[in-house]
């Protein structure tokens, strides 16, 4: 009987090991822009850009035991309510790191868009194909030291509050493609760039797929 139990445990263990497959990184190098991923619309949850010529990318989390979880860190899309009659702000934020094993100077990129009160998810989906000029939106960069004590994997929305206090500047953003599923999941692909003082954020591109649980408005 003990032998059977041992065989069963060994069988389950082997079965679990067989199921271990790391989620893909989905980084496909752009030949024209070294260190950046191609502009895609496959829901790869990848975002890359240059900050002062250095390639940045959203991080990848290794899966836990038995291949559970892990993958590219997903952005948050949330609405920051304006006081009184002030417009609300839509914040699309994701953590970043240098796309090589080098110490990163920045932890988050946040794109802040003023939206009218009551702005809903389907209105966001209607922005598909819209290109916004630099006088419309803001880009914020959260420096690495600002939250060095903080575990952003556990508190992904922390970047939103940081976005208010982080250095910021004008931003161009182009939602090349946004689609919304009946269950409220959003797939979006686009381009962005911006300037914060002497810091130039260039050649930005993102390809996100957010389940409705990551959309906070």
């Amino acid at each position: 009987m003990t032998d059977i139990k041992l065989y069963l445990i060994a069988g389950v263990f082997i079965f679990c090991l067989m199921g271990c497959k790391k989620p893909p990184r989905n980084y496909y190098s752009d030949q024209d822009d070294p260190g950046l991923s191609r502009l895609t619309s496959y829901g790869y949850n990848i975002a890359t850009n240059y900050i002062n010529g250095v390639a940045y990318i959203n991080p990848y989390n290794d899966p836990s035991y038995f291949g559970l979880g892990g993958g590219n860190v997903i952005p948050t899309l949330s609405k920051i309510l304006g006081r009184g009659t002030t417009d609300d702000t839509l914040a699309l934020s994701w953590p970043v790191e240098v796309n090589s094993n080098v110490q990163s100077n920045y932890r988050y990129i946040s794109i802040l868009m003023p939206v009218p009160k009551g702005f809903a998810e389907n209105e966001f989906a209607a922005l598909s194909g819209e290109r916004f000029d630099s006088n419309t939106n803001i880009i914020a960069l959260t420096p690495y030291l600002a939250d060095s004590y903080y575990n952003y994997y556990n508190y992904p929305t922390y970047s939103d509050s940081l976005a208010y206090t982080s250095p910021r500047g004008p931003s161009n953003i182009y939602f090349v493609n946004i689609s919304m599923s009946p269950s409220g999941d959003l797939a979006m692909a686009g381009l962005f760039n911006g300037n914060i003082g002497d810091t130039a954020i260039t050649n930005g591109r993102f390809d996100f797929y957010l389940s409705s649980s990551y959309i906070h408005f």
Partner: protein
């Protein structure tokens, strides 16, 4: 259908009595991809070199080299820019050129169609290694200002293929040939989606067979004739 198969079987059996020869064949023509490439239709100019080194019927071994020079397959792509002084998006013409090289070995059988004119039908079955290199180019692409959404990229694929051929020799060793090649057995398994698939060229080509081992066959035929004559003499006595 049964009648056709019977005729074909008879032809194959009859062919055993036909004098075999070694040859080197060179042909060219037009090839079309039949692997259901939804976005592009690929056409190529094939150049085929065949070599049957042994003259004997009992050794149908043959070799082939095939190189397909591609015509450009066209598709469209859209590129986007953040630069406010430029149009937000532009349509680009995507050009894909599949270069296909196949080296194969196999067996060839033949059957005579017209003994007087020495017209022969060949059936060849081969297996080989095929390299398919796809070169992607975007016409008038301003790569400084624009980004292509879901761009195609070059790919280099190599795998095994199977080949079937039917060739007809007529009029002083001229050849007309139909050649079909399977898609790559081990297909593209990269995770990045491409708009094109590996090609399976179906080609019609014309060419010429150079028969170079006639002397050897003449010797063999002379040898057979000598044996016959001896047998006749023996029968007379």
């Amino acid at each position: 259908m049964i009648k056709s198969l019977t005729i074909l079987s008879c032809c194959i059996l009859l062919s055993l009595s036909i004098r075999a020869q070694s040859y080197l064949g060179l042909s060219t023509g037009i090839a079309k991809d039949v692997n259901d490439n939804h976005n592009e239709t690929f056409y190529q100019i094939p150049v085929t070199l065949q070599w049957k080194p042994f003259w004997s019927h009992y050794n149908p071994f043959m070799m082939e080299l095939n190189y397909d020079i591609p015509f450009t397959g066209s598709n469209t792509a859209t590129a986007y820019t953040l630069n406010p002084s430029l149009p937000a998006s532009v349509q680009l013409q995507e050009q894909v050129r599949p270069y296909v090289f196949t080296a194969s070995i196999g067996m060839g059988w033949r059957t005579i169609i017209d003994k007087e004119r020495n017209n022969i039908l060949y059936f060849n079955v081969m297996a080989g290694v095929c390299n398919q290199y796809f070169r992607v180019n975007y016409k008038h692409y301003d790569e400084t200002n624009y980004e292509i959404l879901d761009p195609d990229v070059n790919s280099d694929l190599t795998s095994l293929v199977l080949i079937g051929e039917m060739a007809y020799k007529f009029h002083n060793n001229m050849i007309i040939m139909l050649r079909a090649q399977t898609p790559l057995i081990d297909q593209y398994n990269g995770s990045y989606p491409l708009s094109y698939k590996d090609v399976a060229p179906f080609q019609l080509s014309f060419g010429y067979n150079f028969y170079y081992n006639k002397g050897h066959n003449d010797i063999r035929r002379k040898h057979i004739d000598t044996r016959r004559k001896r047998r006749i003499r023996y029968d007379r006595y």
